[in-house]
Symmetry: C2
Subunit: 221 residues, 2 copies
């Protein structure tokens, strides 16, 4: 047998062993990003404790020890997932709001503001590439106090946009119940959708937004 010929005639072994890395896959945070994305997906699917760092490594074609080149430990990876999620959610919230303000000739009513915020929240929670936020909501207890503190600052920033809107609606009589408890219940209704919403199913994110406003506001049809 001519080994040379045999090797030449063999089909190119594309999927044998570890996939070949092109040069620019290295550096520049590409791999760190890949780890964050895979971790978000797996943490959401199976939970933090039930996901091994080996699973995450395998999901991006790394060996078991390599995630620790990018993150100090498993908890730090979780915290990074949550921080990244909140950063993106905040950016999306701002963009949506700015866009709505720019598109409207008159100043936005409290009602219109709420619609924009709710719709944007559904994007952050249920849209594509949105595993980070559910992970934050459901693995919160794992974080250390310092990690909680860091993420909480972002959460406060996110919520701060809602507070005056809800206050205005309350003054208009469009929103009932104790201020704080009502806000927590609204967020509960929204965040709980992560438990049952099926993308591409019967309801769209616009449908959810409609129902939310009809359900919570006092005289919206």
């Amino acid at each position: 047998m001519d080994e040379d010929t045999l090797l030449t005639e063999a089909p190119p072994r594309r999927s044998r062993g570890r996939p070949r890395k092109t040069f620019d896959e290295r550096d520049d945070g590409n791999r760190r990003q890949a780890l964050l994305r895979a971790a978000a997906r797996l943490f959401r699917q199976n939970g933090f404790s039930a996901t091994s760092t080996r699973d995450i490594a395998a999901a991006v074609g790394m060996r078991s020890g390599s995630p620790f080149y990018h993150f100090e430990n498993k908890e730090a990876l979780l915290a990074a997932v949550m921080e990244e999620g909140m950063q993106r959610a905040l950016a999306h919230q701002r963009a949506r709001m700015a866009e709505a303000v720019a598109a409207s000739p008159a100043p936005l009513s409290a009602r219109e503001c709420l619609r924009v915020l709710v719709r944007g929240h559904f994007d952050n929670l249920l849209g594509p590439e949105s595993d980070h936020i559910p992970v934050m909501l459901y693995e919160w207890r794992v974080l250390s106090d310092e990690q909680k503190h860091a993420v909480n600052q972002l959460k406060d920033e996110y919520e701060a946009v809602w507070v005056p809107v809800l206050q205005a609606l309350r003054r208009e009589g469009a929103l009932g119940g104790d201020q704080r408890v009502a806000r927590l219940m609204l967020f509960g209704a929204l965040n709980w959708t992560a438990q049952w919403f099926v993308p591409g199913g019967a309801a769209s994110l616009d449908d959810l937004t409609d129902t939310t406003l009809q359900l919570f506001l006092k005289d919206a049809s």
Copy 2:
């Protein structure tokens, strides 16, 4: 040294080693119940995966292998926690409702029914000895399909009581939004309280109930 005297004079060693078991702590499901209670508490506190069967055993003064005398495996213990929780929740719902019907001279209005259901739900979710239900809500994905099916039957039974009440309120115009989505959002608002409610804090379960009705019903004050 007179060992006899020494032993006699030594204080009774109440807390040395494994606590002594009285005869009637054995049998009759006492220990099984203790395991369920400890498991519910620990599963809620740390999550299913982060709780070892050793932790649970230690919490009731057993050795590491002993829980498997009562439960086939860790998942079966979790399923039993959820089933027990739902059985108790169902019983409590029925008792509350029967009690309200008996106490009222006229048939209950849909509004009054909702108040009873919401108040009872807060008991089930936030009251004393209520870890089972949050565990069910937050560790659902761990269950096998058959286990999910078993618990789902109880959940359906629980929800079935709500459906006609919500439908009546919708017909009265007291509840807005798409039927199904509105119901899921109401449960979301209620179930989310398990994330933030602090027993003995600023708000009581009656307060939560008031705010719930004021927030969701169209013309309640």
